[in-house]
Structure formats: C-alpha cells, structure tokens
C-alpha cells in the first residue's frame, strides 16, 4: 500500500507501477521526490553526485544530522520514512549526455531537477531525443511573484515550470518557498501525466 490512502484502485495501480526518473536531488529534486512518494509513487530512479551541505538546508528535503551524507542516500532514508516500501534506484553520479540516457532508460517520465543552466540545457539536449515526457524547471529564484511561476507544454514532450527569468546568477537566492512551488508543480505535472489528467 502506498503513502496515499486517498487513491482510487485504478489510480493506485497506475502510480505504484510507474517508474519516474529524477535528475538531481537538490531543492527541486528532493522536494519533488517527497511529493511523488506522498502522491503514491513507489518506483523512482534518482541521480545526484553531491553531498548534503549546510547551505542546502534552506530549501532541500534534508536534515542537519545528514550533513556530509551523499544526497541520494540521505534522500532515500527520508523518503523511506514516509513510505518504507519503495523501489528506489540510486545513482551517485554526475550526469553527462552519455550516462543520462542509460540512467533513465527505464523511466516513463523524467524530472529535470538540476541547478545550473548549463547542466539543465545539457540534460534536456540529451534526453529529449529519447521521446519520453520530461518535466523541467527554469526560473524559480528569489521571493514573491508566485503567480509568475508558470507551466508550459513545449512541443509534445516537454513541460517547463517556472518564470524562465529569475536566475540565481542575477543575485537572487534559491529559497524554500519559490523552489518548493516549482518542485511541487513538477510533481503535480508528473502525476497528472501518469493519470492522464490535465496538467
């Protein structure tokens, strides 16, 4: 039984059997993963090369006693506190155009949850030719302006969350409320796609 007791049987079946990839376990990825597990998903493929640091605790789904742990291990531990019966495939790796495709080849949908614009662009360039739905985020730094965080379907397979302008390189900090909104919207889009609902 998944973490979501509100699901109808057919919804539960779809969500529990779905495999979703999450590229990055930072502010977007860790929070998106928690939403997906609470929504009823059980199979996630998560990739991140980083360790939990103090600067992550302002927005990422980690705790002070996890400082120094590999993010994929710490996230696995936290997700299993929500729902112990999960099928998690963890990749402690920096994603490249080559390994990104093999890492997520068994996933139905992939969430882009990386940090830098270059890494995001690299990942989208690598994964879009696979023809799988990708949910990505661009433009979520700073405070306020919640309603500017939009959602667009681009082409057939890309859903882009964010305002596409609020860049941490312009001195805006990545902080929990806006990053959390984008992470929740990414998870919401994934669940809607799986359940064939309006995104």
């Amino acid at each position: 039984m998944s973490a979501n007791t509100y699901l109808k049987d057919e919804e539960r079946q779809i969500l529990e059997s779905a495999t979703v990839g999450i590229a990055g376990a930072g502010g977007l990825g860790s929070n998106c993963a928690a939403h997906l597990v609470r929504a009823g998903l059980k199979r996630l493929v998560i990739a991140d090369f980083d360790v939990v640091s103090k600067s992550n605790l302002n927005r990422q789904f980690f705790f002070r006693d996890q400082l120094g742990l590999k993010k994929v291990d710490a996230l696995s531990e936290n997700l299993r506190r929500i729902e112990p019966d999960l099928d998690l495939v963890l990749h402690d790796v920096r994603l490249t155009p080559v390994n990104a495709r093999t890492t997520f080849e068994n996933c139905q949908i992939i969430v882009e949850a990386l940090d830098s614009a270059d890494a995001k662009s690299m990942l989208l360039g690598a994964l879009l030719p696979m023809g799988k739905p990708i949910v990505s985020a661009s433009g979520l730094a700073g405070w306020g302006r919640s309603r500017t965080i939009g959602q667009r379907r681009i082409g057939k397979n890309l859903i882009l969350i964010g305002d596409t302008t609020s860049d941490i390189r312009n001195g805006l900090a990545p902080v929990s409320p806006r990053v959390g909104i984008a992470a929740a919207m990414e998870a919401n889009a994934v669940v809607a796609l799986l359940l064939d609902k309006e995104i």
């Binding site: 502010g27 155009p97 940090d115 989208l124 879009l128 661009s138 681009i154 964010g162 302008t165 390189r169």
Partner: protein
Amino acid sequence: MKIKYQGNDEETAATTVAAFLSGKGVNAKTAIVEYDGEIYGAEADLSALPINEGAELNVFNIVSGG
C-alpha cells in the same frame, strides 16, 4: 518573410533559425527552441534549420536555480 515569434508577427530577412535568434540576441545554448511544434535543445544545429514563411518560433530561457 513573415513569421510568428513569441506569439507576435515579425518580418525577417533571416534564412535560418540560428541567424534569426542571433539577431535577437538569444543564446540558444541555454534556451529551448520550439519551432513549428518541434523542440530543439542545446545540441541542435539551428544553422541547418531554415526559416519558412508563416513559421511559429518560441524561445524559452533556461536559467540557473534548483
């Protein structure tokens, strides 16, 4: 040649998507380009993509933060 760029009508003499976007100051290496419903990522060669009359072109910036 008339195209629709970011939802607005534009007149352009550019013959390729790369040339058009360069004229707009767009860095296509950190953007997603949607051209007539197809997506082109950072690795796409937009200089090989001709601009056609009536085409629809949209660009979405990829910025840092996560």
